[in-house]
């Protein structure tokens, strides 16, 4: 069997070229590939196109890659939780393409499923529809949207095995499974890497066929954006 296990994030991302298109899993800061992002910061590749639902915050997540000017273009559904992002957008240093969240998720899913285009009602009659083919099905108008694929997909899972099978935890799953499927090369970082045969096949979220490189990450910060606490015992 091909060895998918790499030593660490540095080794996993070392052949990502300048101007590559990357997918990065996560919703907000939940389920982001922290180790891979750190490795990209060190490696210095530039001109990257990043497909990710959000763009991190000023001092964490993709926000760090913006600070180092490694990102040329963001493809996201909701951005601007950070000041540096806004500055680069307004100065024209950064290109941004905003996509409805469900369309973004489905375009990535389609990329991983080998479906070049599909029709969705999201965005009909809005500026999202500009230049797109529309078609009527059962009396309702739909927009044609194309698949999204990436040179490298960077995903984060809770547990993984050496065959690349992945299990996510909580709402940290979000965009990670579809991105894992849509990458030409998919790199998975996991909190716990276990030997083959350890994970229950019934529980696998991402089958190992989609994962090319896997490593156990270190020092997960798992930063929380909005720590909201209940005072009441329910």
């Amino acid at each position: 069997m091909v060895n998918k296990v790499v030593k660490n994030a540095d080794e996993a991302v070392k052949d990502i070229p300048h101007r590559a298109t990357l997918m990065l899993g996560g919703f907000g800061l939940c389920g982001i590939p922290e180790n891979c992002i750190s490795a990209i910061l060190k490696s210095g590749m530039t001109g990257l196109t990043c497909i990710s639902n959000n763009a991190g915050v000023d001092d964490f997540g993709i926000g760090l890659m913006l600070k180092t000017r490694q990102v040329k273009k963001m493809i996201s559904s909701y951005v601007g939780e950070n000041a540096e992002f806004e500055r680069q957008l307004l100065s024209g240093e950064l290109e941004v393409e905003l996509i409805p969240q469900g369309t973004l998720a489905e375009r990535i899913r389609a990329g991983g499923a080998g479906i070049p285009a599909f029709f969705t009602p999201a965005g009909v009659g809005t500026e999202v529809a500009k230049g797109k083919e529309t078609r009527e099905f059962n009396g309702k108008i739909y927009l044609m949207e194309h698949w999204l694929r990436a040179d490298f997909s960077l995903v984060k899972a809770w547990k993984g095995d050496t065959a690349g099978n992945l299990i996510y935890r909580g709402t940290a799953r979000n965009f990670n499974p579809m991105m894992a499927e849509a990458g030409t090369i998919t790199i998975a970082e996991v909190e716990e890497l276990v030997p083959i045969g350890t994970l229950d096949p019934n529980s696998i979220h991402t089958p190992g066929i989609y994962v090319h490189r896997i490593f156990q990450g270190v020092n997960y910060e798992k930063r929380i954006e909005q720590r909201t606490i209940s005072n009441l015992k329910i």
Binding site: G28, L29, C30, G102, A105, I108, G123, G125, N174, T228
Partner: protein, 218 residues
């Protein structure tokens, strides 16, 4: 006039037992606090959860459990977790019974604008366009007028559109109104102490009034 909490309380009365509901950020999130104990609903979070529970106690905080507003949450018994693609699949296919969201403008045809103000920093539409394009039943929580007194219930939206002909009902600080295609805003209830005349003056779009308009019960 209703404050934000009272708008949330009034919307909570629209919630029926057994519904699957998606709550937007802001006033809609508050609705969860006022759903009567004898009514059981399942709250959907578009980042991949059915069964949002209350905010966690300090000791329960889990970075892997957040809602669409990126707040830490808990899960109710019987919850399920899934990907963002699955989440929007259930939204798109009309499985979610009720969507409650905020709006900057609504037109008399039911068009909604709530994602972008030209000249201001554009943050993105998030899941709003997907939700409004597919939801079976959309209730909007909004202020009837801007701070300057300009109506937000219009003939046509002036801000960039989020979705066309999708809003069914509005609960504003002044009134409860339904959108009747071809007829405009149908006034159903007045906020306590608010007159029909005040609502007329605050509504730029076509307002349809039939019979006595009762004061709303909160």
């Amino acid at each position: 006039m209703l404050d934000k909490t009272q708008i949330a309380k009034r919307i909570a009365r629209e919630v029926k037992d057994g519904m699957y509901i998606n709550l937007g950020i802001g006033i809609p999130t508050l609705v969860a606090n006022y759903i009567p104990k004898n009514i059981n609903v399942v709250l959907q979070s578009e980042n991949g959860l059915l069964g949002i529970g209350p905010f966690p106690l300090e000791a329960e905080v889990d970075a892997d459990l957040i809602n669409a507003g990126k707040q830490t949450i808990t899960m109710m018994p019987g919850s399920s977790l899934f990907s963002s693609a699955e989440s929007f699949g259930m939204i798109r296919s009309g499985k979610v019974d009720l969507t409650i969201l905020g709006a900057m403008e609504v037109s008399e045809e039911g068009d909604i604008a709530n994602w972008k103000v030209p000249g201001k920093m554009v943050k993105g539409m998030g899941g709003a366009m997907d939700l409004v394009a597919s939801a079976k039943n959309i209730i909007v929580a909004m202020q009837h007028c801007s701070k300057e007194g300009a109506s937000k219930l219009l003939t046509c939206c002036t801000l960039p559109i989020t979705g066309l002909r999708c809003v069914k009902r509005i609960v504003s600080d002044l009134a409860v109104l339904d959108i009747i295609p071809g007829r405009g805003f149908q006034l159903l209830e007045r906020a306590p102490g608010v007159t029909v005349e005040q609502i007329k003056n605050a509504t730029e779009g076509k307002l349809f009034i039939q019979g006595e308009i009762p004061e709303m019960v909160l």
